[in-house]
Symmetry: C3
Subunit: 341 residues, 3 copies
Amino acid sequence: MTRTTKELADFLGCTLEGDSAALVSAVASPASATPEDLIYVDSPRHLDRATASAAKCVLIAPSLSLSGKILLRHADPKLAFARAAAWLIPAPTIARGIHPTAVIAPSARLAPGVAVGPYAVIEEEVHIAAGAQIGAFCFLGRGSRLGEDCRLFPRVTIYPGASLGSRVIVHSGAVIGSDGFGYVAENGKRLKFPQVGGVEIQDDVEIGANATIDRGSLDCTQIRHGAKLDNLVHVAHNVTIGENTVIAAQTGVSGSSSIGANVLVGGQVGIADHCEIEDGAILGAQAGIPTGKTIRRGQLVWGTPARPLVKFKEQFAWIARLPDLAKRVKKLEARVLAEGK
Amino acid sequence: MTRTTKELADFLGCTLEGDSAALVSAVASPASATPEDLIYVDSPRHLDRATASAAKCVLIAPSLSLSGKILLRHADPKLAFARAAAWLIPAPTIARGIHPTAVIAPSARLAPGVAVGPYAVIEEEVHIAAGAQIGAFCFLGRGSRLGEDCRLFPRVTIYPGASLGSRVIVHSGAVIGSDGFGYVAENGKRLKFPQVGGVEIQDDVEIGANATIDRGSLDCTQIRHGAKLDNLVHVAHNVTIGENTVIAAQTGVSGSSSIGANVLVGGQVGIADHCEIEDGAILGAQAGIPTGKTIRRGQLVWGTPARPLVKFKEQFAWIARLPDLAKRVKKLEARVLAEGK
Amino acid sequence: MTRTTKELADFLGCTLEGDSAALVSAVASPASATPEDLIYVDSPRHLDRATASAAKCVLIAPSLSLSGKILLRHADPKLAFARAAAWLIPAPTIARGIHPTAVIAPSARLAPGVAVGPYAVIEEEVHIAAGAQIGAFCFLGRGSRLGEDCRLFPRVTIYPGASLGSRVIVHSGAVIGSDGFGYVAENGKRLKFPQVGGVEIQDDVEIGANATIDRGSLDCTQIRHGAKLDNLVHVAHNVTIGENTVIAAQTGVSGSSSIGANVLVGGQVGIADHCEIEDGAILGAQAGIPTGKTIRRGQLVWGTPARPLVKFKEQFAWIARLPDLAKRVKKLEARVLAEGK
């Protein structure tokens, strides 16, 4: 969608310096921009790139200056850039209308305007609210629920009974509602512990490609408003993930662990079972949280088993100095033993 | 399915205390139970929850007491609870009949009563034994074999020639029989080493969502009776996984490694190639087993590279004490140097 | 395809010792070989297996000897074996012709001879070059491009606009072109940073089952000629992976990191964002590369945070000796304190 710089400045709440009638139609990086693309600069280090860019219009921090460009000044250029992108570039269409090959059970209720791609399968008693787009090969199991404006990319599996809020985005290959991993020993064999609970994904959650989210065993697995999960993340049964928490790729959360709000979890983190990660904690990439451990509010931890970053760094530095420490002990021994004779 | 407490007690081999005609129709956690749900208590810590629960009927250990409930006493309440759940709650139906959209090759042989969901694709010479349910979008490659009562959730890929035993459960998105990862260097490029072996999944195995199991390169990848693999587990070519072994989410097993029977493998464990994990070993979460390493029968290991848990804890404690140790060395140096003068 | 030993020797550039008219039709391991299977021996340790094998024909290193077999001598028997396998055993057929159930948009352009399996979905403006085979349930988003002889196993998702070169192999469940994981904070919520860049997979790349490769945010994610990615590998937005680089299973590469050519990356490695891994580096399994770190050309690193293997081993050895070191310090203290009195 093409806008004038004036319209864009008004929408973003920017001050405009330069031609107010120039057109902006998309966003880009400085290197790949065409004249109609918007770029942004939030650091003096990137001023040269912006100057060299073909883009005519630049979102820029109030403290920076740049000549030869139309400037949109904003206190947070990156945020304004993201908002501009969401305004200028429509979300890609996943499906249009209801494809004739979609298999939709008679008792499924689709709000008017819901779009369903080829070969999607929607079972009995599914409810889908207005504005949802369901990609090709999606499977919505019996009785599952989707809120307004959900976007399921092709090939998402929703097991029976799962519930998604509004504006949930699920990427290709994700599986929501699979059985949790719980067994009881019986004569040396493994008998499945019942995995009959639910799974609730609240509004504005995004789930990455090939991520897996298990249903609860007896209660519910819950991912709260605004949480974002990257590709290949694993969420086990009975886990709770708090509001606006962000979990990077390939992290796993084991059974019955609870993650608070606004937590930042790096990639490949392993959270064992029955842990509690309090609000605002930060778990560094590849950290390992042992069974039953609590990470306190706002704490920044690292390593396996996870400890505060400051302590991790201190210990790591000491480990690096071990050969030297050992030499010093050897020297002391030589001296003391000699004296001791 | 609804049963009387008397019927349930007889089925489970429990002693019954209280109304023998009360009805039980499902299982639940104490908090979410309705009066007809069965709950269980195996620890004095959970007696209060049970008392507060709406459930009328409680599976309980012989040593515990609880008033106001119908009691089913069993030496292992959790096991009895799992058995009760399997009896009361039918496994969810994955498919009913053969959906008209399923593409089934003329030479495929499906036993009477096999159910196939919408858009499943079953290639030439596939054999499926009685009682199997094949979900939507499942792909069964040429010549693959499924035993009795297999349950493939929607969207499982079985590459050509793979063999599954009876009662195998495969969750959505799992891939069985993909090419192993093996190349030979040829003028700086990578030429595929032949990946033409088989994959055999034996009876009562369960495979989690989005797990991947490669075929053998020249021989066979084998997952033996009763093994359970969680979501996103990776099993490379020529691996053997022993009977009743349990592997938690996101663990990877590299080529030609062999895991014995009754092994417990935590989440995100990495087992390099050509390892041998003997029967009954326990590998802690995120452990790393280096190439060619043997973990002895019943050993409990931790860390990367993995070592016995006792040693891991001891070393970890020493690392935490390093700053103190260094101070002590410094003090000694001050004293000895002063004396040496 | 069956060949004489003479034909095979000529094709591979081997010297032949023994019957030149014997037939070879496939490859196998010594244990599973039939008389017409080719086996190979590249180490004296494996001579006994070869002798005991039913195979009549053995690829063998010039320095080894073996009686009772037809010998094909080659300086690199394993490479010759891989070349023989590629010659004797045709790649498995993924699709034949265009299945009537495939949904192909009118503006998609498929070269003559392209094969498309059942229920594949090919959107508008997709271009597929000659020789490609597209498996069942594959989804090729609008405007995506596939080069010659690509092989997509069943159930691969290509998001709109992604570009694949020639002879690219993609295994089942892989997702190419999903949104990168980038958000900007806005009043405590997460607003998606634009994920509108491209993804380019160059010639001869192979991508494992259930791997995920995100599109660039503003620029392009690029996987260069001949790179090989194993199952469940994650590649984030804006990453570059160099020529002939090999990445083992479950490794993750975070945003904007760059991996050079001929790099070997073990399994479960975590590469944080904005790293540079130079040509020929080797990253041991489970290594963790911290944000912004450079690994120098040809360097072999291990551990988290990754350090040179030599240093890792040295440090690890010192850690193991810590209890002893502490004892020695204690002894010194006893001596020095006693003397100090």
